[in-house]
Structure formats: C-alpha cells, structure tokens
C-alpha cells in the first residue's frame, strides 16, 4: 500500500535550486533549529527518543538510544556519516546534492541535543559537486547565524567542518570512519568498546549519525516525536528513503512510510518502480544493500519493515533494493558483489582478507565455465570460515561486519539457484552469455 504519509526528508526536493539558502529559507528552513534552541537539550533528545527514529545508515540502531549512551566528558564530538558506499545505495547522494541545508540544520540540532563541542560531516570524496554544495551551504549558514558562535542569539555555539573522504567503502563503518577522520588508514577499531559513544574521535565520546538520520531531525523538532512515530509500524517508524535499482523501469529514490508499503508496491507500482522489463518475470531481489541476504519472488509481499525483513533472515540495511529478472545471471551478480568485497576488504583480518579473494576467484571460474561441482561445497566452506554457520544475522570472526557480509550473495546463489550454478559447471559456460 502506498500511503499518504507526508514527505519528510525529501519535502524540499523538486523545487528549483533546492540546494540554496534562498530556497531553503523560503520553505521555512532553520525554523526548527530556532525552536530546538529554545528547548532544553534533553528535551530535544527526548523528542527524538519518542520518534523512535532508527539510524538510516544500515545497522538501524535507534538514534535516541545511541545519544543516551554518550559518555560524560566535557569534550564530545558529533560526526555525520555521509560516506555512502554500500553498492546500490544512492539516497545520501540525493539529500546532500539536493538539500544540503537540511543536513546542516539536522547536524546542528543533533549537536545541540548531545551538547557536542565540534561537529564533522564526513562526505564521500567522490561526491565532488556535493562537497561544493555542502561547503557553500555551510558558508551561507555561518553568515545566517545558524552555525558558529551564539547561534540565533541562543548562547549555543558549534563549529561544523565538512571533511572529504578519499574512496574506501570500509570508511562507512563508524570506527573506520573515525580513523580516517584522524588522518589514518581506514581500519575498523577492535571492539570493545562497541560504541564510539564511549571512546570515539581522538579517544573522546563521539556520536556518529547518518546523513538521512539527521535529515529527519528538523521535521521531528517541528512536528514532535509522536507525529513521527505515528507513521510506520512497530519499531519501523516514520518514512524512509528506498533506493531502487537493477532491472526495473523506474529506478530511483522513493520516500515511503515504513512498514506499510511492500516490496511489490515499491517494484511494481506505476508511480514507484513501474515494474520490470516487458516479457520478463522477477527472479530475485536484494532487500537492503549487497551485504543483505537475497529474497525470492515469494517474499514480494513483505512490508518494508526492519522487523519483518529481519525475521525473514535478511535486513533492510541501507534501504537499497536491487531487482534481478529472469534475463539476469545470478552467478555473475554474486561474483560481482564478491569482487567488490575482495577489493574493499581492509586486510586486517585473515578470514575476510583471504576468504574474499578466494571466493571471488572460485565464483569467477564458475561464471566463466571452468567451475567444478565440488566448488559449491568449497564456497560454503570458505564462507563458514568467515561467518560460522553462514546464517543471518551472521556470526563473526572478524573485527567488523564487512567480512560476515561477504557470504550473503554466495549463499543466495547456492541456496536459491543451485541448479543455475550447476548448469554453469555442466555446460562449461554461462547460459546467459
């Protein structure tokens, strides 16, 4: 079902020059920040807690709870994660290019709620124009008095720095991001501590929130946490951006009420995905970024709910849905995803560093027609060494979750499309070539 829920994070998009201060102010921009600054910080945090806003980066951890875990220290940092690199995810791209002021307003609201001493927006380096627009927006926001010293005369001050990344998927992992922000290789940190809220940037308590997460904050402050949590169902409250790609007629970002709309609606509704290529049927889809286990057509009627997708053995993750139809070779798709992980493994942990490379080579030889029947067991064995049991949520033998995400697509190819894998091996060629 497509509901008439209000558009929240995309409400300013589609207007001309939506990235400029003039356009943002005309749409009532920065009034939420004024309202927030008139409330005690704890009350702003309480509204976000009431909203039950789940983090929109991929892990789906409640933002309010994350904030409440912040260790007491006179120095504490806020870092906004805009290092969007999960394959098939392009929602933060839209928000930063289209509405950078909303990102900044959300950042300052969050900084006020947690009483941060400085804030950093870590933006993916490949977003060249996004960096320009975000910095321009920040310059304008400083001039407007919305960032910097004594914001809107409230007595609250915060500096915000736009920081460019330099091309490494792993820096989306929050501890790797902090290492990168410290000017180092993006190596995820050993846990515990599990949360940067205890020990983060420069060893200080740090909150890391995703771009889309903070883009929700102006609306929540304006309308109240209850209005947000009235949308959606269960723990999946509010609306969310879903990035639809692959073999659909209308790929794109769609903001939808959580848990009400189904995957079928997203893929087939004429105003959303518009269905798949004529004369084809849907074969499989990835429900939440390439780290997520795949779903088959029998799961199309599942709602876009973090709980439901989790219960069914996958994750809504970064909200990116990739569609395969019957003309697509799933072996090739699984190989390409594995190649991605092999390239992006940071190399710290043996199971991930070595496993990803071997898995990629084995998948490639199957796709190229040089596979052996025993390769299927071999693949599962290597997967088992990275994520024992090859289940979801995965068991972990590595510092971060990149490694345990690798088996998702391979397990899908083997468990859902065993015949297609074997056909490659028997025919000594890819049947789709």
């Amino acid at each position: 079902m497509i509901t008439d829920a209000p558009r929240i994070v995309t409400r300013h998009l589609g207007t001309p020059d939506s990235h400029t201060m003039g356009s943002y102010l005309a749409a009532g921009g920065y009034t939420a920040l004024r309202k927030a600054l008139a409330m005690p910080p704890a009350q702003v945090a309480a509204e976000v807690d009431k909203a039950s806003l789940l983090g929109r980066g991929g892990a789906g951890f409640p933002a309010g709870r994350k904030w409440s875990m912040l260790a007491r220290d006179p120095v504490r940092y806020l870092v906004i994660n805009g290092d969007e690199s999960e394959p098939a995810t392009f929602k933060d791209h839209l928000l930063v290019y289209g509405d950078p002021h909303q990102v900044i307003e959300g950042t300052v609201i969050a900084a006020y709620a947690i009483q941060a001493t400085q804030a950093f927006i870590f933006l993916r380096g490949e977003f060249a124009l996004g960096l320009e627009r975000l910095q321009q927006a920040l310059n304008d926001a400083y001039r407007h008095g919305a960032v910097g010293r004594d914001i809107f005369g409230s007595g609250f001050s915060i500096d915000v720095v736009v920081h460019p990344g330099a091309g490494a998927y792993i820096c989306g992992e929050e501890t790797a991001l902090l290492e990168s922000l410290e000017g180092k290789r993006g190596f995820p940190r050993i846990k515990p501590p599990y949360f940067p809220a205890a020990i983060g940037l420069y060893g200080k308590p740090t909150i890391v929130n995703n771009v889309e997460t903070v883009s929700n904050l102006p609306w929540i402050v304006e309308n109240g946490g209850d209005a947000f949590s009235a949308l959606g169902e269960g723990s999946s409250t509010g609306t969310r951006l879903f990035a639809l790609s692959g073999h659909v007629r209308r790929p794109g970002n769609y903001e939808l009420e959580m848990a009400k709309t189904t995957f079928r609606d997203l893929i087939y509704a004429p105003v959303l995905g518009g269905g798949i290529r004529a004369g084809h049927t849907i074969k499989a889809f990835i429900p939440g970024g390439v780290s997520a286990p795949w779903f088959g057509p029998d799961q199309l009627d599942m709602p876009l709910s973090q709980d439901e997708v989790g219960k069914a053995g996958s994750m809504l993750g970064s909200g990116s849905v990739v569609v395969f139809d019957d003309g697509d070779c799933v072996v090739r798709a699984a190989w390409r995803i594995t190649r991605f992980f092999a390239r992006e493994s940071c190399g710290q942990c043996t199971p991930c560093r070595e496993g990803s490379g071997w898995l990629e080579k084995i998948m490639r030889r199957i796709e190229e027609g040089a596979g052996r029947e025993e390769d299927l067991d071999l693949l599962m064995d290597v997967c088992d060494n990275i994520a024992p049991g090859v289940s979801w949520p995965p068991q972990q033998t590595t510092i971060c979750v990149l490694g345990p995400s690798i088996p998702s697509s391979i397990a899908a190819a083997i468990r859902m499309f065993r015949d297609e894998m074997l056909l490659h091996i028997k025919e000594g060629a890819c049947p789709y070539d």
Partner: protein, 217 residues
C-alpha cells in the same frame, strides 16, 4: 620544499586549523595537492608530511589505502566507469569494453598523451542512472557507446571544462570562515548548560517526590 604553490600551502594551513589534531587534515590536503598536480607527487607527499607533522612514509602509507589518492601519474581526466552490480545489469561491462577500445588502454591505464586514465570503479552511488560514469568525480549521466565517444571528443577539446575541472575534488571548495569558537569557550559553555540541565532535573525530582508524597498522604 616549496613544491606546493603559495595558494595551496595557505589553503593547507587553513585546513589544519579546522581540526583538533593536525593529522586530521592529511587526507584533505592530499586532495588539495592532487588539485595542483593531478596526482600525489613524492615532493608533495614530503611537504604534506611536514605540514601535518608526520613522516612522508606515514603520508604515503595512509594515501595508498584510498582509491582516490593517486600515487602514480594520472591523466588529466580520470574516467571512472562503475561496474558494480546495479550498473552491471545495465551494461556497464559492455560500456567499459567500449571505453577501453576507444581510449586504447585497459582499465587502470593512462593514454599516452596523458589525457585520460580509465578506471573500473566500485559503486559511485549513481545507480538510478546506470551505467554510472564519473569524470574527475563529476557525474556525466548514463552513457551508451556513442555518448561515451561524444564525451571523449568534448573533453579533448576542452568543451566540458566548466562542468568538469581538473581533478582534485577540492579545487572549487572554499571554506569562508575559520572556526568561530575556541575549544575553551565551548567547554565553558557546555559546563554552564550542564549545570542548568542538572538544576532542572533536580527541580523535577523534588517536584515528583513532592507529588508522590502528596499522593501517599
């Protein structure tokens, strides 16, 4: 020393001032150096090391981790063709094959005239416009073979220079303010706010306790 231009050096020093620790500016300054040279020359690496106070080996060791920081000579235009899964479904490998033929280099290579470096990229977050291509990290929309050829011709003739400047993603990024509040000021301000919060909390507690007593009586 003296490899980075006075302008780049001044920008680099301003970047250092934005962070609690100088090393945080290492990667942004590498982007600035690439804006000047197109890649990270050893002379630039040595100078960056001095600016942020680490050894040149640490700068190189950090830079070599990141795809965008180029430690080898790179063409004037870095052409990145995404071949990750969403783009692959829309013909990215066919486009990459065409690009290799047209430019006469394999992915990873640079044309002899130093104009183009071609790369087989991971997801560039442009999956609704697949297959996604960036030139110097500017999106150029999805391309077919003819579109790619037209793009290459335009680039050679400098027709797209307004929209696609030299690479180094900070060449057109200009921060107009430095930090506006000192760390000491911020800490003092936070301490005041904390005291105010605690006073409110105490009051609420006393109020609640009073109310509870009232209910009990």
């Amino acid at each position: 020393m003296g490899h980075l231009s006075p302008e780049v050096l001044a920008d680099a020093r301003r970047l250092v001032d934005l962070y609690p620790e100088p090393r945080s500016a290492l990667i942004p300054i590498c982007h600035l150096a690439q804006g000047q040279d197109g890649w990270l020359r050893p002379e630039a690496i040595a100078e960056i090391a001095e600016i942020v106070g680490v050894s040149p080996a640490e700068v190189l060791g950090t830079a070599s981790f990141y795809d965008m920081l180029r430690t080898e000579e790179t063409g004037r235009y870095l052409v990145s063709v995404c071949t990750n899964v969403a783009c692959m479904l829309q013909g990215a490998y066919e486009l990459l094959d065409h690009a290799e033929q047209r430019l006469g280099v394999k992915a990873g290579g640079t044309t002899e005239d130093g104009m183009f470096t071609l790369e087989d990229a991971e997801c560039l977050a442009g999956c609704d416009d697949a297959p996604c291509v960036q030139v110097n990290h500017r999106y150029v929309g999805h391309l077919d073979a003819d579109g790619f050829d037209a793009l290459v011709d335009d680039l050679r003739l400098g027709r797209r220079d307004d929209e696609i400047p030299r690479h180094g993603v900070l060449v057109r990024v200009r921060r107009e303010t430095g930090l506006t509040v000192s760390a000491d000021e911020v800490s003092a301000e936070r301490a005041r706010q904390r005291e105010a919060d605690e006073a409110v909390a105490r009051q609420a507690e006393t109020g609640a306790a009073g109310a509870a007593k009232g209910a009990g009586a």
